[in-house]
Symmetry: C2
Amino acid sequence: MIKGKDGTPIPKVVIERLPRYYRYFDWLENRAEKISSKKLSELMGASASQVRLDLSYFGDFGQQGYGYNIKKLKAELAKILRIHTPMKFVIVGMGNIGRALTRYNAFIEAGFKLEGLFDVKPILIGEKISGTTIYKVDELESFVKTHSVDMAIIAVPKEVANEVVKTLVASGVKGILNFAPLDLEVPDGFPVENIHIIDKALALSFLIRERQH
Amino acid sequence: MIKGKDGTPIPKVVIERLPRYYRYFDWLENRAEKISSKKLSELMGASASQVRLDLSYFGDFGQQGYGYNIKKLKAELAKILRIHTPMKFVIVGMGNIGRALTRYNAFIEAGFKLEGLFDVKPILIGEKISGTTIYKVDELESFVKTHSVDMAIIAVPKEVANEVVKTLVASGVKGILNFAPLDLEVPDGFPVENIHIIDKALALSFLIRERQH
DNA sequence: TAGATTGTTAATCGATTAACAATC
DNA sequence: TAGATTGTTAATCGATTAACAATC
């Protein structure tokens, strides 16, 4: 388990909340100089205790009687989340989702660097999308190695996802962002984050129905 | 809070896990007739107690000494999640993400029905994507009303997202699936599910870094 | 200084797991 | 019947909140 400031393990839920804190500090940047845990918690709909405890896992960023300096906290969170530290990634699967992510500027803004695109369809190989080339998926392993790719996005059909995963893990990629609607088979502790669009839509569907009795 | 079987409130975490159960039963369908909570829990990487307790919020689906009938459970979960019960939706924002979601067949497969697309850019109005027309966002409110749209997907820039939300809430839409990187301002208890792609990528980024010491 | 607000420890709350009687 | 496995209640674990001494 991941350790914080003084060796205390950081709960996974806290890690998953970090990007949200970053978003709020980014938003606050041109709006104020400082903010207290109380004010921030009201803004975010959390408790002030949670804000303070969450942040305290990573350092002593606040000051009694003052609160948190927004510029400083934003910079600290950026450092923690490696924003602006180029993280090289590839996208595997050039369907709708893969193509959309290729053009999604938010990745670049957050400091991610797209190195290559991959697909099986011969007709797509060589095509460029916003300046990035589509390669044969056969070349994935060697490409990841030679370009020291850090992270891969999986946007292939679920039937072939675990095949791709096997290749990626063998290639030495360090984490996977998965858009395929299944749980990937990865070695224990291998970093994976899932984006299950339909799962979210179905949960919403359930909530909507229940709300109407 | 949402109530289950005998009036016990169902924790939100359990609801969010339901689509995952559905995926597993869908996968199991042609592979076996029945499954025990023990076997299922091993497959899913959960505990058998959790499986049994989760499912028990919605009904008594199992049988002692036998387990759960896969076909039956899949059908029950489909009913609970309203799969195959057409849920009408619109997509607001025809950027990369909006366009990709328009063509994303998984929505149709899960029984969602795309009624219309919306954008502000005059040049896009009238265009059809996979048979669905793009309308002016000015027409959003009346469209939702006349077509009794249940759900909206927000895929607009964050700067205008809350404007769209205001229109949607006024129009009587019943839930929102949000892809914009911010927390939407909705009335208390209004169903929203967020898909924060960059948040997930950043959390992954953090996990990768920490894993390498 | 007095007021504000932190970081942290203790108390509480909620979710997960273990245990088991019921029963197929 | 004996073995398997449910649904549920009690015990445990972990996360959230409250409280407060420290201090800017």
